[in-house]
Symmetry: C3
Subunit: 363 residues, 3 copies
């Protein structure tokens, strides 16, 4: 796979300089670059690396002097980070899944595959499932009965889709992702300790020990277009209605989206995020790694939560939060600074007490 | 699958009103309900939704006037949340796994399958394994050598059971769950930095860098009856004796139960919980999402830990805890309230100091 | 599998006492031990258990009187915890994978398997992959195209290796581990709310809602020798250069190592650890369970982080940290003690204010 400097610049909407016909076969950090690589040096501090590597062409920061850097060609993008999207898409060599229906693939009765669908070795597609045109079902993947998956989807190796799931177009799921499996919902015959604890806000409870009875998941999962779900991440089925994920939302490895959760459009959840049952997350919400959101709450549009934040209450739209429990990030930083002085404050308080007592005694 | 109002009410031990022969084929939220659905409107605030939907029958709160709500029939349960268990079980259409032993299933030498066991496509059952009557081994699942699994179990697609595991009856494991795999246990030839840090409670340590040597897991896993384990959750094998999970315990997606841990009966662990090695958890313990419990500690019976709690020390029976580190929930809420005033307290303290100095100077 | 007391002691470099020809077939806790087991009683407090069990031989603490304890033989190791490594390795009965290439294994075009490589049922090895001599590829495992795996490796059941990954010798990966899959990297066409929030440290942001565009992962993963990766753990591919893991590093279940991360040698990461993109971790770093490390930061050699720690900033070499955000462990313990007195401090401060005001009024 090779592209000329002119082709790449055009695809990125970037400025091309120098030898526009130079062929590029890969991308590399400046110091690691070989003669066929486009070196990525989008900030002046990467200039030194160009001298150590062997790149003939580079993607450079605005205003860089490509000739002075010893290059034959250069590409100058308007927004370098965004240019990475186009560049890496062009150079991606992919996972190399074989095309067509592998002879070992098992396609259930009544399942319908669109045009140019590939199904890998040892994949299993349940009865009544429908797969949109141009989709790739990886080796050892599984699609549950009566599920529907949109066009141009990629289910990587070992992805598992449960029964009756509805997914839009251009879906990407990474190895081990489990979507539409039974929710974690249990109830005791009588009121139990957890229900008492929630009602009493933490006083001791006296509920007798009981066994848990399962609430089954009838609601499956509904996912919009252009969604991506990471390795070993889980989206559980809803109890009565579907668990829902909007268009354009991206969910990283090892995340957990519980039953009945509703997630809006264009959210970004980093790895190990957990959203508890029946919570509603707005659109354009960004959650850092290991963020947790309690059940039955609401997180507004455009909220940003820093890594490790535990959201225990409703968060209004547009707020930036951090901490456990989550509060506004600037307030958190103030509290945090004060906390570090807390041991000294304790000493000062004791000292003031002594001095005040002395004054009072005198007085 | 259809049930009459009378049948459902009888199964739930609930009161049935109106047309007892009305046929129900599904359940739905009030506004989404079609004519064949039982609308779920167990609180007065859901009454409005009934008008928007097309349900002829509903499950209602005690005292509701079903005729006034325009229904032909109603079911009034004593404990609505508990009624959900029976109702959803009756209406669950399941995962649709094929019955019988699929021709591609591989059954190891000496493995014994009870009556009416199903084994899915591309499942592998190790030599000497024993599967109890009526169990369903899903497609692409794996059962290790010499493992024993009780009757009426469901291993969903892609579940992995390690070697020599013992599991009771009515076990349910969700896709990707890994049970009985090697524990994470390593040792250095000489005393290392972590051992020093634990002994010194955090002072700098000077142990030389060393490589880790593996301690193998000889102890497998023992699980009681009626246990459920979530998607991609892990229960590691013990070192010398089994890691143990009691009867009736339910463990959600992406949880980690380390080697040598002992968990009692009827516990409930939400998603992303981690229990470190050799810790003992009592019975009827409820851990919220992302709770962590340190190694070699003890959590008493009936403890409830809120989401995100990190338990770093022993917790006595019956306590409700929250926070990092875990403390009593009511105490945590007091500290938390005080923390939010901490920046102001710092200012006040500085002001008092100035005023006191002024008085002293005068004095 | 049976070993004499003399053989075991020699393998461990330990002292053997009594009947050196006694045959041992397993290891057990003292009270559970049968006559063929070596009881593990390496501290005096385990002596009582020996009386309850039926062991004829035990591994004992230094100075123990084996004859007085009613034993026929004993082994006294210099460092008992380290002796566990050798002992458990000797007694490990393994996972019982069948040897040779299973007839259902699919080996891609141009893939090369070294001598004595085993490939399990329904495993798939991609085109151009190379597997070192003596390796075991478990049932249902997957190796991506053009990946290279060193000698004497074990990929347990259902492990997934992505395309173009490079792994050293003696690698062990547990079920469901996903290595070399696409990183989680997205960008918006214009500057977005998260970029603004980082720049403003938490003030409200006004960036318009945008959709995410994917940055592809061209960089794969490079892993050294003697690395072990737990069940359902993930190591994502780098963007331009590989994500790297050094020699001897051990990573537990359900950990997430993001794209571009560099991990040094001989690190130990407990379960549910998350390392965000482009962060560099030194050598001999120990991270407790559920530790999180933010993106683009640096954690120095020999750092130890307690369970649940969230590292939001650079940590210098040798430091022991705890808390959210991570600070020095001893400082954390001081702050934590002060925090518990915080509600009382608030009362005291209010009281001092009143008394001071009274004095001032008098003055």
């Amino acid at each position: 796979m090779s592209h000329t400097i002119a082709e790449i610049a055009e695809a990125l909407g970037a400025t091309a300089l120098g030898d526009l016909d130079l062929e590029i076969t890969g991308a590399a950090e400046p110091a690691d670059a070989g003669p066929g690589d486009l070196a990525l040096a989008m900030k002046p501090e990467y200039a030194a690396g160009l001298g150590q590597g062997h790149a003939c062409a580079a993607m450079l920061w605005e205003g860089a002097d490509w000739q002075d850097l010893g290059l034959q060609a250069a590409i100058i993008p308007a927004r370098p980070r965004f240019a990475m999207a186009g560049l890496t898409a062009a150079l991606d060599r992919g996972h190399g899944y074989t095309t067509g229906i592998h002879p070992t693939a098992i396609i259930g009765e009544g399942a319908e595959l669109g045009e140019h669908v590939s199904v890998g070795a040892y994949a299993v597609i349940g009865a009544g499932a429908r797969i949109g045109a141009g989709s790739v079902i990886g080796p050892q993947a599984y699609v549950g009965i009566d599920s529907q998956i949109g066009a141009a989807t990629v289910l990587h190796v070992g992805v598992r889709i449960g029964p009756r799931v509805r997914i839009g177009a251009r879906f990407i799921a990474h190895p081990g992702a489990a979507i539409g499996m039974d929710g974690f919902s249990f109830v005791t015959p009588e009121v139990n300790a957890v229900e008492q604890a929630r009602a009493s806000l933490g006083e001791e409870v006296d509920a007798a020990a009981q066994s848990w009875v399962r609430i089954h998941s009838l609601g499956a999962v509904e996912i919009g277009d252009d969604v991506e779900i990471g390795c070993n991440a889980c989206v559980d089925a809803g109890t009565i209605r579907p668990t829902r994920i909007g268009n354009g939302t991206k969910i990283d490895n090892l995340c957990h989206i519980a039953h009945n959760v509703v997630v809006g459009n264009d959210c970004l959840f980093a790895a190990l995020v957990g959203i508890a049952g029946s919570t509603v997350i707005g659109s354009n919400v960004t959650l850092g790694g290991q963020v947790g959101v309690t059940d039955n709450t609401h997180v507004g549009d455009r909220v940003v939560a820093g890594g490790g934040t535990k959201i225990l209450n409703k968060v209004p739209a547009g707020r930036i939060v951090l901490g456990y429990p989550a509060i506004k990030m600037d307030q958190h930083l103030d509290i945090y600074k004060a906390q570090r002085r807390l041991p000294r404050m304790m000493q000062e308080l004791a000292e003031l007490k002594t001095r005040l007592a002395a004054l009072e005694a005198k007085g």
